[in-house]
Symmetry: C2
Subunit: 301 residues, 2 copies
C-alpha cells in the first residue's frame, strides 16, 4: 500500500506537484502532522510563539488517475489512528469568546479512545480537519475552506463516512491533514485536540457528476459543506445545493423539493468562529444535510 508522507502543502493549488499517483479504487495511507506542524511541544508554549505560515500542513497532493474536471472524487474514510496526545491552544483574539479569556495551552492525553480534559473524560472521535482537491482558479491557503474542501473542520469527516469532492483539475490533487482527536461545532477557541495521525482512505472517481460544494455521506445522512462570509450565507448556499441534488435525484419540481427540505433538512455548524468583518470566502463553514432514505435514489451515484 502506498504511504503518503513527508510532503506537505500549505495552499491548495493547481500548480502543486503531485507526490504520488493513485488509481481509481486504490487504498492509501496518509501520515499527517498536527495543525501547528508540531511547533507546540509543551504547555508553557502559547500559540503566539509559533510561525502561522507553517500551520495547517496537508499531506500530498496525490494525483488520482482518471479524475478529470467535471468529475467527483469520492474519498472513503476507512480509519483514522491518532497519536497518544494532542495539543489544544486558546489565544487572546482567536475565536468568538476570545476576548474574555487568556492565552493557554494544554497537552491532552488520548488513551483507549478517550480524551481527558481537566477531570472530564469523553470519547475521542478523530476527524479530518483539512481535506480537499485543487481549485482551477487562484490557490487557497490550507487554513481556509472553499468549494473543493480545505479546512472544513467537519466533525462528520470521520471513520466510516465518505467525502465527495469536486474535481476541478486533472488528477484532482488530493491532500489532507489537520486531524483532531475531538472538536466541537464552531471550534469556539479555533482549536480542537490537534494531533498527528495515520489516515486510511480509498479513493474513487465518479465520472461526470456536478458538485458545487463538497458533500459528506454518513451512514444516515448527507451533508453539504458550504461556507460564506456569514452563517446565513453559508446556510443558504447549502440549501441551494441540496435543492438541486434532491430535485435531480427524486425527480421533483422546485416547490415539492423545497417542501421536502422543510421537513427533512438538517443544519449543523462546523466553524462559526471567524471575524465577521472578513470579506472573502474564508467565512464560517456550515453543513446542511438531508437524511438518506432507504429505497430512494441516491443523491450521488
Amino acid at each position: 500500500m502506498q504511504v503518503i508522507k513527508d510532503h506537505y502543502i500549505y495552499k491548495f493549488s493547481k500548480e502543486n506537484v503531485p507526490v504520488a499517483h493513485a488509481s481509481d479504487g486504490e487504498t492509501l495511507r496518509f501520515l499527517t502532522r498536527d495543525c501547528f506542524n508540531c511547533q507546540i511541544t509543551s504547555e508553557e508554549q502559547t500559540m503566539e510563539t509559533i510561525d502561522f505560515e507553517a500551520c495547517n500542513p496537508a499531506t500530498g497532493p496525490v494525483y488520482v488517475d482518471g479524475a478529470m474536471p467535471g468529475d467527483v472524487l469520492a474519498v472513503d474514510i476507512l480509519d483514522i489512528a491518532v497519536a497518544g496526545s494532542g495539543v489544544m491552544a486558546a489565544v487572546k483574539g482567536f475565536g468568538v469568546l476570545s476576548e474574555r479569556g487568556v492565552s493557554r495551552t494544554k497537552i491532552l492525553e488520548v488513551r483507549d479512545g478517550y480524551v481527558r480534559f481537566n477531570d472530564v473524560v469523553f470519547p475521542a472521535v478523530p476527524m479530518i480537519g483539512v481535506i480537499g482537491t485543487a481549485p482551477d482558479e487562484k490557490p487557497v491557503i490550507s487554513g481556509y475552506s472553499f468549494s473543493c474542501g480545505g479546512n472544513m473542520d467537519s466533525r462528520k469527516i470521520t471513520k466510516g463516512t465518505t467525502v465527495y469532492l469536486p474535481v476541478r483539475v486533472p488528477g484532482a490533487l488530493l491532500a489532507m491533514g489537520d486531524v483532531h482527536a475531538a472538536m466541537g461545532d464552531g471550534e469556539v477557541c479555533e482549536t480542537g485536540v490537534e494531533i498527528n495521525a495515520d489516515i486510511l482512505v480509498r479513493v474513487r472517481v465518479i465520472k461526470d457528476f456536478r458538485l458545487n460544494w463538497p458533500v459528506t455521506e454518513t451512514p444516515d445522512e448527507w451533508f453539504v459543506n458550504t461556507n460564506g462570509v456569514n452563517c446565513d450565507t453559508a446556510i443558504l448556499r447549502g440549501y441551494e445545493e441540496l435543492l438541486r441534488l434532491v430535485s435531480d435525484a427524486y425527480g421533483w419540481d422546485t416547490t415539492d423539493t423545497t417542501m421536502y427540505l422543510s421537513l427533512q433538512a438538517r443544519v449543523e455548524a462546523n466553524q462559526a468562529v471567524l471575524d465577521p468583518n472578513e470579506t472573502d470566502d474564508e467565512g464560517p463553514v456550515f453543513r446542511t444535510g438531508v437524511p438518506k432514505l432507504a429505497a430512494k435514489p441516491r443523491l450521488i451515484p
Copy 2:
C-alpha cells in the same frame, strides 16, 4: 388531570389572564390547534387565503403556583399525540428558497408513526413549535421567538425532553401550541407538518436559578435556544450562555470553559428562514448545546 383547551393566546404577555392554575409537579394535558388555526382544510387552499392574525394559537396560559420572577419553569414533555393528518404549505415569498417555487398546499397523512410525502415515507417525530412563558416587558406575538421561548421551532422539544424556561412574571404563564408531526432544521418553506395535538407535560418550579434563554435537555445533550437578527448573533448568544452555565457548573475559569466548548459544544439550527433585513429579535433561532456528561454537575439543578 387538568386539560387545558379552548383558550388561545396570540401574544406572550404579562397581561394575559390565566385559564388554569397548576401546582409544582402537576401533570397537565394541553390540546393544541395547528399553526394555521385549522383555517386550511384542503389542498386547493393556499396560504395566501388565510388570516395571519389568527395563526400560531398557543393554548393557555397556565399559572404555575409558586413560580416567581428569577425562577425557572421546567416542562417535562411526557407525550405528544398528533391527529391523523397535517397541513404543509409553501407560499411564494416565505422562506429562503421561496422565490424559486410556487404556492402549494399538501395535506399529509400521519399513520402508525410515519409521514408520507409523495412516494417517500419517513418517521413522524412530533415536536412543539411554540412554547413559552410571559415576558415582563412588552408582549411578543406567538409567531416570534424570544428570551422566554415562543416560536422556537426546535426539533429537540419532543417526547422525552425537558424545556427549561425563564420565569419573568408571577405564575410564569405557560402556553404552548404549533405542533409539527415533522419539521426540518431551518423550516425552509416556513412550515412543517402542521397538526392538531394532545400534549402531556409535567411542570416543575426550580427556585432562584438564572437563565437568560430557554434551555432544552435531551437524554444526551443540553441545548440553549437563542435567536438573533442573523445566525451569527444567535450562535454567539448561545456560546455566551453556555460559557456562563458550564463555567458555573464545572467551576472552571473562562479560558478553560471556552476550550472545553471548543471540544464539546454543538451547533444546530431551528429556524434559518426569516428575512435578513428584519431588525428586531424575530431573527433566526439557533440552538447551541453541550453534551451532558455522566458524573459531572448538572448545568441546571
